[in-house]
Symmetry: C2
Subunit: 137 residues, 2 copies
């Protein structure tokens, strides 16, 4: 039983087979799947699940803060169940592999007030890029 599923139940979500399967697919560390990848894996367990339901369910999980949307490439958004521990991402510029990383300090602190132009800055996303060990070999 995934923690994610447990938290959804506590929020009063109706527990459908579709939502269970999406939550199961998202379970794990360093999981950063696109919506259509989630759909493909969900279909293995529940063949009749629709694309629309996967998109809807992911969107709901994001809106309640249980899943984070990550846009590391210009293509499809990726869905990250590791929403309760702040982290950033390290992406291989060749194969696209994504790792969670934890930089030192608060990235927000590096932006001085004079560079905020009156914005109320609330979040920061950092994407490190480079070549992973497998691709460098």
């Amino acid at each position: 039983m995934s923690d994610l599923l447990e938290r959804l139940r506590e929020r009063g979500w109706r527990m459908t087979a579709q939502r269970r399967v999406v939550a199961e697919v998202l379970d794990g560390q360093h999981v950063h799947l696109t919506a259509d990848e989630v759909h493909a894996r969900a279909t293995e367990r529940l063949p009749e699940i629709s694309r629309a339901t996967v998109y809807n369910t992911l969107g709901e999980m994001v809106s309640i803060g249980e899943v984070i949307e990550v846009a590391t490439d210009g293509r499809a958004k990726r869905y990250d169940p590791n929403a309760h521990r702040p982290h950033q991402h390290l992406v291989c510029s060749r194969c696209g592999t994504i790792r969670d990383v934890h930089p030192q300090g608060d990235p927000l602190a590096a932006l001085p007030a004079s560079e905020r132009f009156g914005f109320a800055v609330s979040t920061v996303e950092v994407t490190y890029r480079g070549v992973c060990p497998d691709c460098a070999a």
Copy 2:
């Protein structure tokens, strides 16, 4: 005459009306247009310019390092002619306005070797998000 156009000529680019117009549209500070926005503005000056040419030209400018691709919203990529001064982006989470910002220090330095997992890390992109003064009013 834009600096961008001058540098393209120095690289031996064939100077077509289409490339001139794309370079002119990209001229300026805090310019972060999508490809289709570039196409719309280019069409005002050169009505028959095609979408494919705009996409091709932007892609070529990116590949030679004269323009930077920015993906701040998970939707269309944006094209930034300010490629010769390293900078990061501050995005309004309500209206989408983008400002160039210059954080203190090297953002790469915040990622310790123990968090690099053998990657040869070469670049970092930082996106700050918050509400701009106009949207806060």
